[in-house]
Symmetry: C2
Subunit: 245 residues, 2 copies
DNA sequence: ATCTAACTCCCCAGAAATAGCGAGGGGGCA
DNA sequence: TGCCCCCTCGCTATTTCTGGGGAGTTAGAT
């Protein structure tokens, strides 16, 4: 199959992006991702939520068979695409990743056998609370063709990936942060100092108050955050954006 | 001052984005951000790296006076823009944030006094290891004008913000303190359980291992994360995205 | 074949955090 | 005025965490 659009004649995505912006459910995303694949003329496009807890959400054009195999084999843990994107900010061509490990080569061979394609381009996406997702295009073609394709479409792809992630975050349940009871300024200071590694004594010293007073703040913050202990409280404060470190 | 570009006649940014992509230093970013402000005809554009450790990097068109005041007053900790963007993925109009707290209103008044403008639009950006940055445009105009402006330019702004962050990450490798030594699966499990409030004993029980073994993981994770204590380690793991709660 | 890294278990002593009891002054709000 | 929240401080006892030590197996990488 030939790539539909190389340099100079990229498809107009305005309409598609608008429909993406007004998508109202995960089904819409699936429809749009298939349409996008056809417009670009690539073999596969996949949006994929990566979460170390094992939970996953994804939509895309991979065969279910391959997805299941990927999960069963635990490829998530050895996939250089995941590892590589996790350390990067900018989109990455699969060729530039490190495929030297045995497990990675096995994964690649397996993927090709399942028709994923020998080329790939993945865009890392990050949301609140450590959310991490990938937007990936794969195809079967020469290195040169792939490079032309990715270079001439990179900006559109970043935008499309961004909106996919925005919608996925919007639709995905289980991300409902409880209405955070606000912490007092002193409580925030105390929690922040603990979060950056200070002990209670050090934090108290830094704020020029007695350790006991600091303890009161921490306890108070803990109760407000509904936390079991200080570590838990700091974790909650961080993931709710109450403190920033 | 009137906005240069509203719906229908947004500036062509291709050339600017290309120069952004080929920027070779922080000075180039400063030049480009000023050019961008002039092209859009807004009062200010600022890219800044948010990190409560006190370290900050930023470039933009704010007066140094205001930047210093912001830091001195500790506005970072009370700024609804920071807190709001920290919990969102999509760009946000300042009007939609919660300015009800006294500190937030004081900040807003102060900002207006320093000529920041009554309108603002901020794009949250996230990179590896929990990096978090903001790309902000501010202006002095009516709500309607601002809405027209942001709606018609939102896509370009996302792209520009993306490339700014990419370049800033590229030029400031020192912002990634340790090369993010990856945690082992067991270490991640242990840290995750601690982050959700389990004591060491509970976590060990949950993983069906002895408390001593769990302790080994926690200690190991702590060293890998360069943390002073468990709370610090969990905070770092969270803000680097090593664990997800 | 060797080596590193991950995973598992054990003991001990000192440091730190937690849980409970207190107390009083200041500011905002009804 | 009364109420509630924020800020500040003290004491004691118990539980938990931290920082040393050592030791064995398994699996993957060189």
């Amino acid at each position: 199959m030939a790539l539909g659009f190389l340099s100079g004649n990229a498809p107009r995505l305005d309409g598609l992006i608008e429909r993406l912006e007004s998508a109202e459910g995960l089904e819409d995303l699936q429809i749009l991702i298939e349409e996008l694949r056809d417009r670009y003329g690539v073999d596969h496009i996949v949006y994929h939520w990566v979460n170390s807890n094992g939970e996953q959400y994804g939509c895309g054009t991979y065969d279910l068979e391959w997805v299941n195999r990927y999960l069963e084999k635990g490829y998530l843990r050895v996939d250089p695409v995941v590892a590589g994107c996790y350390q990067r900010f900018h989109p990455v061509d699969w060729k530039r990743l490190d495929w030297s490990s045995k497990a990675a080569r096995a994964l690649m061979q397996d993927a090709i056998a399942y028709g994923i394609g020998n080329q790939g381009y993945s865009i890392p996406l990050r949301g609140p609370n450590g959310q991490f997702a990938l937007f990936t295009l794969t195809h079967n073609c020469s290195d040169g063709e792939w490079e032309d394709f990715t270079i001439s479409n990179r900006r559109d792809l970043i935008l499309v990936a961004h909106y996919f992630n925005q919608k996925a975050l919007e639709f995905e349940p289980g991300r409902t942060p409880e209405p955070a009871q606000p912490l007092s300024p002193r409580e925030i200071e105390a929690m922040t100092l603990l979060a950056v590694g200070y002990s209670r004594a050090q934090a108290a010293d830094t704020l020029s108050i007695s350790e006991h007073t600091l303890r009161v703040y921490v306890e108070s913050a803990r109760h407000k955050l509904g936390a079991m202990n200080t570590t838990h409280a700091v974790a909650r404060a961080l993931s709710r954006g109450v403190i920033v470190v």
